[in-house]
């Protein structure tokens, strides 16, 4: 398993939660270290390399967002997962902008957390490898070289922007992508506020690739934040979203 012997630094001011996470994540096969605050986490990260950092967004003292930015500076290869509270979408956006790879929202089930951690771990490792020419997810197959998308082997016509958008999403399968990030990457740095652009492209893409565009399984909406491309064949990529509450 990928997570075998992966090291995690759990940063949280709540000792009961730290303890529970240490026990549970250890049982799930991670090597766990703890830090009680952002400041302590920075010190620990400077001394040891971690594969993953699980970082609470709201802590007394240094905020989780600041800690995230600084850990990212010290340890660029570590996967950072922020622990947020569901209703604070702003926190999630700021966390992603500060360099976090993903987030989980309190309260989370252990299985959810370990799935997220494994997915982040895999993505950070994958990015070190050579980028593949063909991307696959579920029934989709994207040839980046010839710019062709196939669904169940049949070619699907995409406009150049649609292709770029989907390609970027598929390359970052499993990762939350903010509206701003998608717009800037696909349309250009001068973009960022043209949400309607993005939404209409996502609508088109869903019509072309989803079985039921109203109940998508590939391009999931992250409410008030952006989108997340999901590979249905990935066991660590559940279809849950914030909509089910």
């Amino acid at each position: 398993m990928l997570s075998q012997h992966s090291s995690v630094l759990v940063v949280d001011d709540e000792s009961a939660l730290r303890k529970a996470l240490r026990t549970s994540l250890t049982a799930s096969g991670f090597d766990v270290e703890e830090a009680r605050s952002g400041e302590e986490a920075l010190g620990t990260v400077q001394q040891h390399q971690f594969d993953l950092v699980l970082l609470d967004v709201s802590m007394p003292g240094m905020s989780g967002i600041d800690a995230c930015r600084r850990i990212r500076g010290i340890s660029p290869q570590a996967g950072i997962v922020m622990v947020t509270v569901r209703d604070q979408e702003d926190d999630k956006v700021r966390a992603l902008e500060a360099g976090a790879d993903d987030y989980v929202t309190k309260p989370f089930k252990l299985r959810e957390l370990t799935a997220r951690l494994r997915a982040v771990l895999r993505r950070t490792r994958m990015s070190e490898a050579v980028e593949p020419v063909v991307l696959r997810a579920g029934n989709l197959e994207m040839d980046l070289h010839d710019r062709i998308l196939r669904r169940n082997g049949e070619e699907i016509h995409l406009s150049p922007k649609e292709f770029d958008l989907l390609a970027f999403m598929m390359k970052n399968a499993g990762a939350p992508l903010t509206h701003v990030k998608l717009l800037r990457t696909v349309w250009g740095v001068e973009y960022g506020n043209e949400l309607e652009y993005l939404r209409s492209y996502v609508r088109m893409l869903r019509k072309k690739i989803e079985n039921d565009p109203s109940n998508p399984e590939y391009i999931l909406t992250e409410p008030w934040l952006g989108y997340r491309f999901r590979d249905p064949s990935d066991p660590d990529s559940p279809r849950e979203s914030a909509q089910d509450d």
Binding site: L17, A20, K106, L110, T114, L195, R199, S214, N215, P223
Partner: protein, 489 residues
């Protein structure tokens, strides 16, 4: 009475002095053998002087005496009231008219000056009264402190005020009947003037509403003053009422802020312990193989903790929407798809209710905030499930009607009492049955309607008079075609 006597005495003295002066003048002129033409101006002067110092009546008397003296001593034949020469008669007539006109004019000027002075004094007293009353605590009843300045400044024997709001009656001064008369005026809604008892009672009106009455006993010229005093009292009463309303609404607003803040803090505080419970249960499962029974227990703990977490999130989100101005992030939303998704979700959750879409297989698009729509329609479906009996049917219909999209959520097996219908959208309102049967914050429908309104739509209750069907109708404006085109282009 003494006043009148003194006034009479003053007038007699002035008449005496005027007559004496006329006699002396006549005597002197007669001795000096002055002729008629040259003495006339001297008499005119005398009358003017009399007019300047005396009142109208004394002037008239002096003028008559002067005319008689002129006639007797200076016109032929002397010592007779007869006048031989017509020119002399004309001159005498001119003298009489001139002196009377002068007298009248001077008297009028003096009267006007006197009444202006009185008016000024009255205004001054009113001003002082207003100043003294305005420094009083706006929240205090219109009691003794309020009434004393009236008495002091206007020399009233007694003053009484009746406040309808508290039904309190305050009286200052010595009067047995004023209190009864004041209350009576309020009850009958009529002003009262009793000249014999020198009592004037006026109704107090604020913002067109009858709020009490004020009565004066022994007020000088009530026709002039009572109106002004009443207006002043009404203004202060209005200030008191406004002050009350403002402080009451401030207190209510404060309570609501606390309440929302409490909800918010509570919901947040729940999340960490819930995460700990979930991490603990997950860890137990990872740590060792559990028996089937233990596995089942772990599932229960995990699911219930997760459920509590979701409830908390919902509570938090509702509390937030309640507190803030809702600004929908509009996009083209297929309402039917959103509703279909919600039905799937709620069907999975409440297996003992049947939820289905009766109308609206066609996609219907609206420019709306999908998250808010989901929240609002979800709330309606949840209510329909929550307040109906197990086994009930919940139906949802999506229809287009002119410029609007109508989403109707109905359930059978429950009803909303008539007296509660107008109140169910109120903040924190919970129906009597609802309070007994299920838990809730009383925010759901309030927030749902707020969301509908923020979209330019509406949320209403449609209930038949009889029957056990409750239907909520949500109305959303459809998208203008050109806008839709621009968005999908």
């Amino acid at each position: 009475m003494g006043d009148q006597y003194l006034r009479g005495l003053g007038m007699s003295a002035r008449v005496l002095i005027g007559s004496l002066a006329a006699t002396l003048l006549t005597l002197a002129c007669y001795r000096l053998h002055a002729d008629f033409a040259s003495v006339i101006p001297l008499y005119v002067l005398l009358v003017v002087l009399q007019a300047l110092t005396g009142d109208f009546r004394s002037c008239v008397i002096v003028a008559v005496i002067s005319t008689a003296c002129l006639d007797l001593f200076f016109t032929e034949p002397l010592f007779s009231l007869r006048i031989d020469h017509p020119l002399n008669a004309l001159a005498l007539a001119a003298f009489v008219i001139t002196s009377l006109v002068i007298t009248r004019l001077v008297a009028r000027v003096r009267e006007e000056a006197k009444s202006a002075k009185l008016q000024k004094e009255r205004l001054n007293r009113l001003y002082q009264l207003a100043q003294q009353l305005l420094v009083l605590d706006p929240d205090a009843p219109l009691g003794e402190d309020f009434l004393k300045p009236f008495r002091r400044l206007f020399g009233i024997r007694a003053v009484c005020v009746f406040e309808a709001d508290s039904a309190e009656l305050h009286l200052v001064g010595d009067s047995r009947e004023l209190a009864t008369k004041t209350r009576d005026a309020y009850i009958r809604g009529l002003d009262l003037d009793d000249a014999d008892a020198r009592v004037a009672v006026r109704r107090l009106r604020t913002s067109g509403q009858l709020d009490g009455a004020i009565g004066f006993e022994g007020l000088e010229d009530p026709a002039e003053t009572a109106g002004a005093l009443t207006a002043l009292t009404a203004a202060l009463l209005e200030r008191k009422i406004a002050f009350h309303a403002a402080s009451a609404s401030a207190a209510a607003a404060q309570t609501e802020i606390y309440r929302s803040a409490m909800l918010d803090a509570l919901a947040h505080e729940f999340k960490t312990p819930l995460s700990t419970i979930l991490a603990g249960v997950g860890g137990m499962r990872e740590a060792g193989p559990l028996t089937a029974e233990q596995e089942g227990m772990a599932d229960t703990v995990e699911n219930e903790a997760a459920r509590l977490g979701k409830l908390t999130s919902r509570l938090l989100r509702t509390a937030r929407l309640d507190n803030e101005h809702i600004r929908p992030r509009l996009e083209l939303v297929d309402i039917t798809a959103v509703v279909a998704q919600l039905i799937r979700q709620y069907s999975a959750r409440s297996s003992d209710r049947t939820i289905f879409l009766t109308d609206g297989q066609e996609p219907v698009q609206a420019l709306a905030d999908p998250e808010l729509i989901r929240l609002m329609v979800g709330q309606l479906i949840e209510n329909a499930c929550k307040y109906s009996r197990p086994g009930s049917v919940v139906t949802i219909a999506v229809q287009r009607q002119g410029e609007f999209i109508l989403i109707r959520v109905s359930n059978n097996g429950s009803s909303i009492p008539r007296n509660e219908r107008s109140r169910i959208f109120e903040r924190f309102y919970r129906g009597e049955d609802a309070k007994r049967s299920t838990t809730g914050t009383g925010l759901g429908l309030y927030v749902a309607r707020k969301i509908a309104l923020a979209h330019g739509g509406a949320l209403d209750l449609e209930t038949e008079e009889q029957g056990d069907q409750v239907t909520f109708c949500l109305k959303l404006p459809t998208t203008k075609d050109e806008l839709k085109h621009a968005l999908t282009a």
